[in-house]
Symmetry: D4
Subunit: 251 residues, 8 copies
């Protein structure tokens, strides 16, 4: 027989056990967009304990809407192995271009990432970083509803060996570091659209920008001043893959 | 070499071809919550041409947040076969209760639904129904951004043999019919929480409530006046399964 | 040495243990205004396991602002023993009237209520009741930030032998019952100001209005149609005291 | 017999064919105010393939309201030939001044512009430019409802040989270039009102301000720091005419 | 030489002379959507003195956005003579259906309406009607900015022999009469989409609904309870034409 | 030498002495619009102790804006003696009509009302009435900033022998009585514009509508269902004069 | 007999005649606060043609609310002659301090200012200045409802020999000049509270700050960096008086 | 017998007597958060006349919500004596860490502070400081509802020998001084989370930062650029204690 209190306790106890366990992780990824989720999957597969913090209720960032609310995205040949790792369905448009249904892509990214063992915490935003001398050693999190509801409530802290900023154009974590640690880094801002150059630039921009802080996806382009790219996601996925490798090498 | 205009055209042409094709379908499902997606998958597997219209940018409705923002849900034994059809990972809490990660569940629901051949149109809301004499024969859709942005723009129409209202507590489609066709049906509103009774009630409430209009999920309980259930999703999934069977029988 | 993760874990684990424990209580009080807190203290002293759910970040309701933002309240002679039970400082204005600092009164109410053993959960709102046949057996709660942030997240349920509605003028719990259980009760709405009559009326109005549901404070006057009273709080406190007695007699 | 699905398909197919065709144009004009529309008409008549992108639902910018919500505008003698090209009705106020009904003027501007073969896309805003080395080669567009509705959706790109910024006081395209390409140009901001000087200044300010980017109308005065003019539109129209000539010379 | 004060005076004096003159008219049309503008043109051509009051800055109502922000509309064969009267460019889609550019259509409607001699007052809303015994004899107008800016400013009155409600779905004028004159008329509300029936229904619904008040366009369908039609505008234009005839017959 | 604390104390002590004194008055007038201020002046001149409560920061209600933001009002011959009592400057438009500057009229109304001895309390709104058996014996007031700032703060009470509702179209006090005392009175709502009839109707509608409650100005027309009048203020002033006489007769 | 159209025409024609006449004045005063109105009265008495432009519906600025919503103000001995010129009622608090009712003061200021022949235009804001070479020769005005309602409507221009900025703390006109004419002047911003020094400083700060532009009242202290003063208004009035003298000397 | 007017007068007279008395104090504390209240209690116990100004309706600042809405806080051993002074209930987590119920802590802080003789004024915000030459000698206060309701009302001034800024992260008073007195001080802004270092830093940062202005709590860390700390409150309380000592030494 169904009992509401048993349901309540099942949910609270299970989540809380997980939450307490993930207050001390190998890698904290901020933002569950495509780069963040790709990084999370490869990191989890590489044996790291990974927590992904997503501000919104749903994951996937700007990918759901494809281009101009037409839910299709383009991915180039170089990222084909990632599509296949995530079992994403795609079809050929022209040589070197694949098309995919952006809604399905998010579905596949999130289910494969969790299946690989990464833990996604939605509705949580990162307000600050934790620091020890000149190294980032964690993130300061809060329910994002606290900010949305304009409440005044203190955050809590999570320890992590590496932090990955996958927050997109805003590069939120990098901007916190820029504002709070004078001279640490500079967020240049992304440049006008130039897909060809942007895709290449992005891979170089995916790197450790401050001790303990790796940047991936559009956040990488924003920090380093690379061109914008539009609804083409191969570079984003390759950037996530590279971020995972960099982080693994530091554990 | 990457060319922005080729990317633009690939996305626009591919989507538009699909969109025009889906202006005439077998089943139009309104709302990509758990019931709607379960119904869509089984319908598509049953050979129906299915379009799902989702008002929000992301699918999944209220499932992402689990219970009270703790991303876990409970599912009872009776719906186990659906979990397995969707390859959803679950673990046992107590006899007859399973726990699952609500974020992963949405990921699996959406990727399996699309893989089965259903087409999901996000960012589109249903403003009205199309009618011929005393039967619903389609839905009237618009970009949901039109309403959010308070623009005054006319909608377009989609023909469908059956419409399924999977809009949750609000029972949006049923309320349109209630308001515009006097005497057609009455949305009673859901009753206080009683999980045990609600889960059973829901299956009976999943039915054709007006010629051409089937109601599923929390919309079904809202129309018929069943109890509320909370973050237990077995009944929701079984309701989607039943709605699919009912719709298939009418094609 | 101070460690952030230890602080995080201390807070989460301690709170969660308490929260899970209080999913099954003797009495759930909705609203931490003066009547609700007075009821909570006497109930806890009477041996009941008591949870108070308060929608706002802070407790105390409309008492902080005294009358017209002048932080003073008036209490009459009949409630003097309650002032003394809570060790509230007061001074005589005229025969039968005492003045108190409304800010201090809230401080005393909340600290004595918790000291007596009642547990206050702030930032949680009651969305619905749990029902078994014709009796209220619990409340359905959610973070109030969920509603403030306009998120779509499911609630959880709490079992309680008795529910006390101390939500003030709005009589929120009673209105839920009125709307969802046809014929159960009628919220009449409070009448114009008449302090003398209102204070007396209030005691009679403090009663069980539906099986399992007791109403106290301004919610009681709102349900039964008693006059408004203004910043005089003797009747409010006596109403809380009576609600506690009624609830204890039902355990 | 009228059929809703046929209507839907007629609209979607016709528009999409046009939209895809106009992803590669000779001139992209941003803003369908008076200068932009005048430029569009003369460009189309000169044989160019022209797309005008207008952020709002309606075209005409600030012209509808005349001066202080009195729908009349003043045009001076020098622009008389443009009035006649557009078949705008005007009447003489004093020597050298003509009056016109601002509502009718917008009607005539838009119908003649489209009749000349320019294609206006309303409800689309320009978020960015496309760049190749040091030349602007297109614009990055999105539904303006996406921004109004605060959605997170990627844009698409349009290729054009020349871009004309006709966005008025804000000089939106020039500001994008200023912010994203350091040293490219400087938006000075318009100066106080001085109609006489402003009208002359405007013609000089109408020029190519960065390779591939011509500025017209109030955007030209804003970039170059010319005086404000008020509801006199001769200079605006002459500026549009000049922008058309400049653009034609570059094709 | 251009002088700002001369420009100011030209605009104020010209507009005010017209405004004072149009405080006493033959026909006051409320709403400059397609039906209202068609009615205005034919009335002006029939010799009536016509004022059109439009709440928004721009005219055209919901026509600018075509269907779902794709700026195309469909018009059927029966309304072809109106397209030709307004010199609207159209092209054939299938037998009996024409397509037109919705942006151009608004441009043509407004310029031909004004050319025919009707006076359009934008930014003015109708707050009330003027009544003499049981007949409507005018409208009560105000700047719509007064309501938008939440100012408290009294309106002014305009006398007219006939009032035409062309306010679309909301049927604003009819709703004022319904609310303020008990028993005068009933606004039923429009029915679900059924283009075929709706177009025919609309012509019958275009009639005098209260002495001195004629209703046209979607307002007519809303008052009488006719089906919705979507972005097909033949019926709308024919309704405007009929409203003009009815009004002329009463002068 | 100027000292800030002396200034502070001068203001607080002087105001508070007055405020306490006016917690017990002969007549409480709600709303400092033209009718309320005219009533207040004549009552004060008749020897009554009068408090006027005005919700806004400034007095004068809708009179400042004249008609459609043109600051002029019309007053007819019958109210000439009131203009002269208030030393309002006016000039003749046509026989029986006078014009006045609406801004100056407010200035004169407020300065003469205060000079006559009435006390105006601005920024205070009336939330409720005080009642004894079946008679209104006072008003319940609060800072209007409390409501504007969405604070939860209790009000205070004022005793008065007579209450005059001069709150305009909304008839706020009458609506409170209608809602809270079943059967006490009915607010019919004002009728369409008909200046001639409205002005006459208004004088009859100015009366005691419930024991202790007199209604004046547009509130009187709203309660009794009289026609609207527009920016003509003779009837409003005569209504205030009559309300004063009625109130004096009851003291 | 009362006729609505006659009322409408009386108001529109009378106001428009005045408005057109005041498009060319001796002095344009921006802001109808205490300094602006004092300046206006003395200028009008000195024979100047004066227009006052007030952004709000009511005049008086921050004076209505006295100090902290207690409607009393303090005025020192030095400004006694101005109180008497305006026939303002005051009473003695201590030597050198007078108290007045802030509501009555506004009433007297506005009625005496208009009686002296100055014309106040409320609901109009000044968006810009008119310039000829290096001198301000007028102001650019618009309905303030245009900005409040977020409409895009062009302004009109007024010529004046002198402009007085009486816009209070914001010093709106000076800030326009500061932003648009590099090097013209610098708005320093007011300093912390020091009533004694502030009152003296204010008189020195009342001066011509740019050719054609005089600043008065709190705007003067804001431009020059004088201390804040609080609800003491002697200096404000003396500043208005001095501004009038300065302006008269330039005509 | 209860009489509403007696209640009103009791509240107004009692509060106003206190308010006038506290316009001249020894210490004005801005912000009733934990540091401010701790300082207030020790100052009052040390014989100082203390006024605390709190912007919100309730006191306690961000403490109510514990960490992430879990109402628990951590306090370290060093602050144990303060917990005992305030009779706060706590329990041991690990060596050197205590846990407490954050809701109860606020209750105890506020009741003990008032019991010690400090006067708390809620709903009042500090807009500015009072200055004499180079020393702060008071604060400029206003109802915070004035700002929330966007009213334009002047403030009043309070004299105090010492001002303590306890406004948290924003360091409101220090920022006023920074902006208005060039060179007086610099608000550096707080650094990333580092609890261990932050707690120590905070004590050093608690000091006089400008003559007459002491800073405490998170405002101290914000001014001096110390690390953030999270929901650990020992340092906050010790900072309040030190601020009290510093202030006492200056009286």
């Amino acid at each position: 027989m169904l009992d509401e209190v048993t349901i309540t306790r099942a949910i609270v106890e299970d989540f809380m056990k997980t939450f307490v366990e993930y207050t001390d992780v190998d890698v904290a990824i901020v933002g569950a967009g495509p780069s963040g989720m790709v990084a999370a999957k490869y990191l989890a597969e590489g044996g790291a304990k990974v927590a992904v913090f997503e501000r919104k209720l749903s994951v996937g960032g700007g990918m759901w809407g494809g281009g101009m609310m037409f839910p299709r995205i383009v991915i180039q040949d170089e990222a084909k192995h990632i599509l296949e790792d995530f079992e994403i369905h795609y079809w050929t448009h022209k040589d070197g271009y694949f098309l995919a249904n952006s809604i399905e892509v998010v579905g596949k990214l999130v289910s494969k990432t969790i299946a690989a063992g990464a833990e996604i915490f939605n509705l949580m935003s990162v307000e600050d970083v934790v620091i020890r001398d000149d190294k980032i050693t964690g993130v300061v999190i809060n329910w994002s509803a606290v900010e949305l509801a304009k409440l005044h409530v203190d955050p809590l802290s999570i320890r992590s060996k590496v932090v990955i900023d996958g927050t997109g154009h805003d590069a939120d974590v990098c901007r916190i570091v820029e504002r709070k640690i004078p001279g640490a880094l500079k967020v240049v801002g992304e440049k006008p659209m130039w897909a060809e150059v942007g895709e290449k630039f992005l891979l170089d921009a995916t790197k450790e920008v401050y001790p303990g802080l790796i940047v991936t996806g559009m956040a990488a382009n924003a920090v380093t001043g690379g061109p914008r790219m539009g609804p083409i996601f191969g570079g984003m996925m390759l950037s996530g893959e590279k971020a995972a490798k960099l982080a693994l090498s530091k554990l």
